[in-house]
């Protein structure tokens, strides 16, 4: 560069000094973030999960015998001529009386909603029988020993909160996640045939969104041969087994109705699901691939923690309440098929779940008053409906009632013993809104301790660290966020911003800050996610 050039530049610079632009920080409360919020409320089409297995978990031992004993102690079994023995704790008569009592308190609108629940339930059950096996009441009971043979059942706790519906029926301890072990329910050869047929039917040609993740797979209604096998197994194995496993709520295999049954395919490009709950009082998962054919996988139960992924080899099954928060754990390589189904009980209407789901639908339709009404009704039926509390809190957040939202989330978290990453995430968002940054960060950190692969969570925590000037931790969080979701643009952008602000302009020649009065523009933390609801 010659001296003249420098002189000219200096001359032009001197002639053109001007103050340009402000540096307003962006603040987000926008339709996009609202869309995202709503997106989180909407369950993906496939909320089913990876398979589960039993392995050698030490933290929760099998205690099902204790529970059964306890139930027997509480209620004398009432066995019918076919051998079905009812051990139900919360009787239908009790529930009807409760609804009648609430009807007086909550008025005719509540009773109308209850009637609508019944109609919808009936319709769902009817549709189920059109696609899936429904047992005849006269079918004789297969003895438990004969059914299981060498298969054993291990029971795990579902956490501190009982299922949303029929909560009184399930006694403590809530060891009602049932997993088969040792001898599988179905042989590897049988399952391999099912997968071969499913592939021929194009199961892997389809894709669905499950929360933030893409999954391959298809509904069994689109896979007739696979459905045929499933129906035969519902009759011979699964329904009788379920009746034995959950006598508290299942009076006979003839009342069980399968719905939303799908065969899911996990691999490295479609690795996992969000943590979620299932849309049925009970749900089951069947492992359809031998363990040696993939790396990773298994089911993450949030209340059990990151170190206790439940794995399940081919032919094994998990049977559990639908309201257990869980997710398909990441498959790193190979392919894993899992068959999942939600279950209804023809003789028991899930009023709490249906009221809550309708509330969620109303919220999506922007009828917030209607939504709150339904959450209140659901909570009147079950004050421990934590999803109702979380959903309601989301509305309060949207209305700017942050203190009330905080109270409601804390109420839910207390019930959940603070083992709910979504509720902790939401608490972090609300506390941030209230300006309580250090508490917000603490909530986010507790959430990450439960679910470290949550991109939005890592992102939001990164933003909070950035606001505090803690760029090292900020960038760590963006790194985690982009690892969890490589297409998370906001995290890439903020990470780049943090680097640029630190003088690292992707080139060692640019290590110092420049003279311009510019601030790199950041995205703000605006994601809000409380619960994946049906």
């Amino acid at each position: 560069m010659n001296v003249n050039s420098i002189t000219v530049i200096v001359a032009v610079l001197a002639g053109c000094q001007a103050t340009l632009g402000g540096t307003a920080e962006p603040k987000v409360d926008d339709p996009l973030s609202n869309d995202l919020k709503l997106h989180f409320w909407s369950r993906g089409a496939f909320d089913l999960e990876n398979g589960i297995a039993v392995q050698d978990f030490l933290r929760l031992g099998p205690v099902s015998q204790v529970r059964q004993a306890s139930l027997n102690h509480l209620m004398a079994p009432d066995c019918d001529v076919n051998g079905y023995c009812s051990l139900r704790g919360g009787s239908l008569a009790t529930e009807d009386a409760r609804i009648e009592e609430l009807g007086f308190k909550l008025g005719p609108e509540f009773l109308e909603a209850i009637e609508r629940n019944k109609m919808e339930h009936q319709e769902d059950c009817k549709q189920s029988c059109e696609l899936f096996y429904c047992a005849d009441q006269s079918q004789p009971l297969i003895a438990f020993d004969e059914l299981l043979r060498e298969t054993e059942i291990k029971s795990y706790s579902m956490g501190s909160v009982p299922p949303e519906d029929f909560a009184d029926s399930f006694g403590f301890p809530l060891d009602i996640i049932k997993v088969t072990e040792k001898h599988p329910l179905f042989s590897a050869e049988e399952v391999a045939d099912v997968i071969t047929n499913a592939l021929a039917e194009g199961v892997d040609q389809n894709e669905f969104q499950s929360g933030k993740y893409q999954l391959a797979g298809d509904w069994l209604e689109n896979l007739p041969k696979t459905r045929e096998w499933f129906n035969s197994r519902l009759e011979s194995t699964l329904f009788p087994l379920l009746a034995h496993l959950f006598p508290e709520v299942i009076s006979s295999p003839s009342v069980i109705r399968a719905h939303s049954v799908s065969l899911l395919k996990y691999n490295s490009s479609h690795p996992r699901t969000d943590v979620h709950i299932d849309n049925g009082v009970l749900a089951m998962t069947l492992a359809m691939t031998p363990k040696h054919e993939y790396v990773g996988g298994g089911t993450f139960f949030e209340h059990m923690g990151l170190d206790n992924i439940l794995e399940m080899d081919v032919g094994h099954g998990t049977f559990r309440p639908g309201s257990v928060r869980h997710g398909g754990n990441r498959v790193h390589s190979g392919t894993r098929f899992v068959l999942g189904a939600f279950l209804l009980l023809e003789d028991r209407v899930e009023h709490v779940r249906r009221l809550k789901n309708r509330g969620s639908e109303l919220r999506r339709a922007q009828d917030l008053d209607g939504a709150v009404k339904h959450f209140k009704w659901a909570l009147a039926m079950n004050p421990k409906c934590t999803t109702c509390l979380k959903d309601w809190a989301e509305i309060l957040h949207r209305q700017g009632k942050f203190t009330e939202a905080e109270e409601m989330i804390v109420q839910a978290l207390n019930l959940l013993e603070y083992k709910d990453s979504d509720a902790l995430f939401s608490l972090g968002v609300v506390l941030s809104e209230l300006g309580r940054d250090s508490e917000s960060i603490e909530a986010y950190e507790r959430s990450i301790a439960l679910n470290a692969e949550d991109a939005e969570l890592c992102y939001n925590l990164g933003v909070k660290f950035g606001e505090q000037g803690n760029t090292q931790n900020e960038m760590k969080m963006y790194a985690k966020a982009t690892k969890a979701n490589p297409l998370f643009g906001g995290a890439w952008l903020n990470w780049g911003t943090s680097l640029a602000e630190g003088g690292n302009l992707d080139d060692v020649r640019f290590r110092r800050r420049t003279v311009f009065d510019d601030s790199f523009l950041r995205l703000d933390s605006s994601f809000l996610r409380f619960m994946l609801t049906g």
Partner: protein, 148 residues
């Protein structure tokens, strides 16, 4: 990082482009000060390219009613940032003795931002350097009238 953000969700793309524009403008400014005029010019061209693409996307979002408050902030930042990019590009041309290109850059600035005093101020300066005193005076007059 910003380049990776370009491959992500649509609403992030103009934001990433704006930051890339700023990044290259910053880089160009730094290189100019260290004497690397070719590098500075290249960075300046990239800055202008990203800013113009960002503006195009922001305009599209605005016309479809998708300009949220966050994007509005970016929208507001476009003008000062693009003016800086014009200034740097014009300065660099002038610095390498290419006063015609410098004039063209500053004329483009006045076309893009006719109500911006700085655009006319910059144009006036480079016209003056070329001895185009009458035009320079007119441009300066325009700059002053806009400044008041």
């Amino acid at each position: 990082m910003f380049l990776k953000a370009l491959r992500c969700e649509a609403k992030v793309v103009p934001k990433a482009m704006m930051n890339l524009g700023l990044l290259y403008n910053t880089r160009g400014n730094f290189l100019a000060q260290t004497g690397d005029l070719d590098g500075a010019k290249s960075a300046s061209v990239d800055a202008a390219k990203y800013l113009d693409e960002a503006k195009h996307l922001l305009d599209s979002l605005a016309s479809s009613g998708n300009l949220d408050s966050d994007l509005k902030t970016y929208f507001e930042r476009y003008r000062p940032l693009r003016l800086q990019a014009h200034r740097l590009a014009g300065q660099l041309s002038a610095g390498t003795g290419d006063l015609e290109s410098s004039e063209a850059e500053f004329r483009l600035a006045t076309k893009n931002f006719p109500e911006e005093s700085l655009s006319w101020q910059m144009l006036s300066r480079v016209l003056e350097m070329q001895g185009k005193n009458e035009e320079a005076a007119q441009a300066l007059s325009r700059a002053k009238s806009l400044a008041t």
